[in-house]
Symmetry: C2
Subunit: 188 residues, 2 copies
Amino acid sequence: MTPRVYLAGPDVFLREPMAAAERKKELCQAYGFEGVFPLDAELDLGALEPRAAGLAISRANERLIRDCQLLIAQVTPFRGPSADVGTAFEMGFARALGLPVYAYTNVASDFTTRTREFVRTVRARTNRVIEDQDGMEIENFGLADNLMLVGAVEHSGGKLVSFDAPANARFTGLEAFQECLRLAKRDL
Amino acid sequence: MTPRVYLAGPDVFLREPMAAAERKKELCQAYGFEGVFPLDAELDLGALEPRAAGLAISRANERLIRDCQLLIAQVTPFRGPSADVGTAFEMGFARALGLPVYAYTNVASDFTTRTREFVRTVRARTNRVIEDQDGMEIENFGLADNLMLVGAVEHSGGKLVSFDAPANARFTGLEAFQECLRLAKRDL
């Protein structure tokens, strides 16, 4: 059976999400995988109020993940120093199910560097701990994002690929995604 | 057996995380629960390099969640319009395990409003869809955060409590947390 890969990421927010999905699915196929995109459930949302539509999408996506054998998450920083929270949620969901979790980011700087740039103030709390203007610690583990995300990738047997894509391909560049596919094909 | 509640949230980044943990645990006890805080594993991280320490914490937290019967997540917006990604990850993890997921936020405005304030530009893509300066869609479902987070709460039988805490209690206010405990005690 062709292993099914859930394609988590902010790609769903792109102007042409289905075109982006197609490009990823073609690459999946080239590496012996079947790509599953969050919008694949083909829900009929037309008649639903916004809130009900949002909840229906959530339910459909959970079902799609349960039907996959691995997950590749785009963790490119999204509206802040971290990955999109929907993507983070889906990584946690897949991890608890025991799926290998792969991830890629098109911004290669580390999480601490990005957070330092994002917050208004950085100050030392102790010798080893830095915090922001609200006294909230800034994670400083030399990781690509929050430790739960990176830990899930590591502990699940996946890989995290960091790559600096051009600014105009921040959410669309697929070099790092393709590298995840190559590694997954090699390892699984 | 006293049900164990995993206390997800950015509380771990506070200056005095163990004091914050104690306050939450006392409230848990008052409602018949045992609170489990992310830092409860008492890892000996002293000898580890930062990266190894981060991964050890991730592994310990996953184990703690697996040992709980429900989860209450603080989803107060953290360095951007959304919840902390580590918290989002843990919600997904708990949801996949079938745990009831409760959540609270100390900022009651909805996700679309917060995202509109955060991005540089908001423009119409179609009649129903708005997007930011990068052409990335802004979720507009009338929910408190990304639909995967809110959906997990709803579908798992939990509740999401929104409350406007004073600015100086943004990450420490416990009114909404306590309401989650009250609802969990009533429902479980």
